[in-house]
């Protein structure tokens, strides 16, 4: 299922690109290429969480990467019913419906044999407890070793050194499991590429401060994945540059649709078809920025790669105390002239959902409307189109009242 989905996706996007080259399609093609690389018979495959592992390290190795949550998860965008069927396979095996649907989907895909091979499985203590647990279970299915990158709650000198040591350990494990060797010059090259891409991402993000915004909501969301999956590869900067040109052209053409409200989107975005775009489009609402779309980390120091890569991770909005999230949210509200904030509360995501009240209180204190939108990334049993429509329309009314 996964392989076929990405093959079809790639063919479709290549066809589209032939007709009308768009950088946003290239972003998606890169995601498809990354997944398909993992399915090649001669690939050495490291399973990892694309969103929270410093991918610059993996880019320095000649290996393929696969994310057991996002790889199957994106399939849900077009094949929701099929995904539900696979999810139920995991439920029948005893995994509670109260667990994250992305994990149930991953486990279901594993049980059905849809996943690629794995040489090593790297788990991560963040974003969530489930991620590391599922990594351990998947490793068991493959008969391979699971390692966990353990991120402390707060960033200080000792915590950074602890994580830096683990990253070196992980590098040795990759060498052992795949036979690939880490060349420190390649790692430095990867870091330089990542830093260049970060600067381009910042330029791109700067462009979104204009009104009307020059990208659409889907680009905002896709960007948060792309900034990690290809970190350390030169193609990342190239595509950011193409996107910058595209956005500039959009702005200069004057053909952008007028916008009534500028929204900041928090936490995850549903992979299953959701009514948001339709309601937002009808009412001139633009998702200007996503919580994870901005470059939240500092430049990586190639002369101090291990600690610097550790610090890249520590700067994630989802690691550490709530202030780390709040600081980024408040900064974005101010810089991007945000009219409203939507927190998408993915049903089983304990750490993001449990912060919604604290964020809501802080955002509303700033005088900005806030909506907790309950739903699920991929489980359609936990999504009601009518209720979502009603909530979004009421929220738009509130934004209208404040303007």
């Amino acid at each position: 299922m996964i392989k076929t989905f990405y093959e079809n996706m790639k063919n479709f996007l290549e066809d589209q690109y032939q007709k009308k080259p768009r950088a946003s399609d290239r972003v998606r093609m890169q995601v498809a290429d990354t997944v398909l690389e993992a399915f090649k018979p001669d690939s050495r495959v490291v399973w990892v969480s694309w969103l929270n592992f410093p991918m610059e390290l993996l880019s320095a190795f000649d290996v393929a990467s696969f994310d057991p949550e996002l790889g199957p998860g994106l399939v849900c965008t077009l094949e929701t019913d099929r995904s539900m069927e696979v999810m139920s396979e995991a439920e029948q095996a005893g995994f509670s419906i109260d667990l994250c649907s992305a994990h149930r989907l991953a486990l279901g895909c594993q049980l059905r044999g849809y996943m690629p091979k794995a040489d090593l499985l790297i788990g991560h203590s963040y974003f969530c407890d489930g991620s590391a647990r599922v990594n351990g279970l998947l490793a068991q299915y493959h008969g391979k070793e699971a390692v966990t990158l353990d991120m402390p709650f707060g960033m200080d000198k000792k915590a950074v050194a602890y994580v830096a040591g683990q990253l070196q350990y992980v590098a040795r494990k990759i060498e052992e499991a795949t036979g690939a060797r880490l060349d420190m010059d390649k790692l430095r090259e990867s870091i330089r590429a990542s830093n260049r891409a970060r600067r381009a991402l910042n330029e791109l993000a700067e462009l979104q401060k204009t009104s009307p915004v020059s990208w659409n909501g889907t680009s905002t969301v896709a960007m948060s994945l792309f900034q990690h999956i290809k970190a350390g590869k030169p193609v990342q900067e190239q595509i950011y540059r193409e996107l910058i040109d595209e956005c500039r052209n959009n702005l200069e053409s004057g053909a952008l649709q007028p916008e009534n409200y500028r929204v900041l989107w928090l936490a995850w975005y549903p992979a299953q078809p959701f009514v948001t775009y339709e309601v937002f489009k009808k009412n001139g609402v633009k998702i200007v920025m996503g919580e994870q779309t901005r470059a939240f980390w500092d430049e990586i120091d190639e002369n101090n790669p291990w600690e610097s890569l550790a610090m890249r991770d520590f700067n994630s909005p989802y690691i550490g105390p709530i202030e780390q999230r709040l600081d980024g949210i408040m900064k974005t509200i101010d810089e991007y002239h945000i009219d409203g904030v939507v927190h998408f509360s993915h049903d089983a995501c304990r750490h993001t959902c449990a912060a919604h009240r604290m964020i809501g209180d802080a955002v509303q204190k700033r005088g900005v409307p806030f909506l907790t939108l309950e739903g699920d990334i991929s489980d359609k049993r936990k999504y009601s189109e009518d209720r979502t429509r009603l909530l979004l329309e009421s929220f738009i009314d509130v934004m209208a009242g404040r303007k």
Partner: protein, 355 residues
């Protein structure tokens, strides 16, 4: 400790009580006392584990004036968010987040030891005391006494007939972490002196022996239901039972913080610090040691750490011929009627299997 001893609340048993005791303070594990968790539903989220929602609701209802401080541990996603919400909404004199690694290898142990040292320094500073190695060793010794006394009872529990009723042992266990340690030691010793007075079983009347394995539990309902259904519970692999009493550090020599780190991150593990595979191996050892006939695997609802493990543990044990009943619980056991039916059916099946 006198009546005026300052009290420090803590939530996760991975917080070493010894450090709090070394500061001359009384550690008090926080049990949820709220009848409804609606206050926490509003401040956190409905999908969090009922223990967290209950203690948060208790805090929101009562405040924290009866405590001199509260210590959190990075034990799970819910706990780190409760740390944020607690300091946002509940006025508390001293709040601390203790870093607990997820890994248990040497670098993790050393890191945890360094975090314990930082914790000792922070608590010492907050309460104007100096925790030196001698004070910590003394606290380790004091805690060791009541832990050892409890371990002695657990050792007896391996024999047949069961020397101490499971629900009686659990009551003392769950209370031990919430009261002063001298009082806890007295209760344990009292229980110990009553052990060994059990009458020999009549031939053919042996009650099935059940292991309860799960996470945080403060109420005895599952023990009582099992006993009422005709089973014995020699041991419970819970945060508030065997695991709590097993954190015995050797503080006589070397770095006492490293000794504590080894004790708290060592066996028996909870799902926080071990993979489902390692957990299963440890449960299998308990099954052998305590001559267990069946396992009641339980988890608080929405506890990801335990819910992900449950299918693997269940399948592995069943494949090894050990009957398993998996039950989610809501911490206050409001669905006792349903649990009763499931437990009675489980015991019936076990009895049939033995016949």
């Amino acid at each position: 400790m006198g009546a005026k001893t300052k009290r420090i609340g803590y939530f996760c048993p991975l917080v070493p009580e010894e450090i709090i005791m070394a500061a001359g303070l009384q550690p008090v594990r926080m049990a949820g006392e709220a009848e409804s968790t609606s206050a926490a539903d509003g401040h956190l989220y409905h999908n969090l584990c009922p223990y967290i929602k209950n203690v948060m609701s208790t805090g929101l209802d009562r405040g924290a004036k009866h405590l001199d401080g509260v210590v959190f541990a990075r034990s799970c996603d819910g706990m780190r968010r409760m740390f944020d919400a607690w300091r946002t909404y509940i006025d508390t004199r001293f709040i601390y987040m203790l870093e607990v690694p997820k890994n248990t290898d040497e670098p993790a142990l050393k890191y945890y030891a360094s975090q314990l040292k930082d914790f000792a320094s922070a608590i010492g500073q907050a309460f104007d005391v100096t925790i030196d190695d001698a004070a910590l060793r003394a606290a380790i010794k004091q805690a060791g006494k009541f832990r050892q006394a409890a371990q002695d009872i657990f050792a007896l529990q391996r024999s047949k007939p069961l020397p101490v009723k499971g629900s009686d042992l659990f009551a003392v266990s769950a209370r031990a972490s919430t009261q002063d340690k001298d009082a806890a030691l007295k209760e344990i010793k009292k229980l110990s002196s009553a052990a060994g007075k059990a009458k020999p079983e009549k031939a053919g009347s042996r009650r099935p022996r059940i292991l309860i394995s799960g996470n945080m539990m403060d109420r005895p309902d599952l023990f009582e239901l099992l006993e009422a259904a005709g089973a014995d519970v020699p041991v419970a692999d819970l945060c508030t039972d065997l695991r709590y009493f097993s954190r015995q550090a050797d503080g006589t020599a070397g770095d006492p913080y490293l000794a504590l780190a080894r004790a708290y991150l060592g066996e028996p593990h909870c799902s926080r610090t071990a993979s489902p595979i390692e957990r299963t191996v440890e449960i299998q050892k308990l099954i052998r040691d305590y001559s267990i006939d069946g396992v009641l695997l339980t988890s608080l609802k929405f506890c990801d750490l335990h819910l992900y493990d449950a299918p693997y543990i269940t399948e592995t044990l069943k494949n090894a011929g050990i009957p398993v009943l998996f039950l989610e619980n809501d911490y206050t056991f409001t669905n006792k009627g349903q649990l009763k039916v499931r437990i009675e059916a489980f015991i019936e099946v076990l009895n049939e299997k033995r016949d």
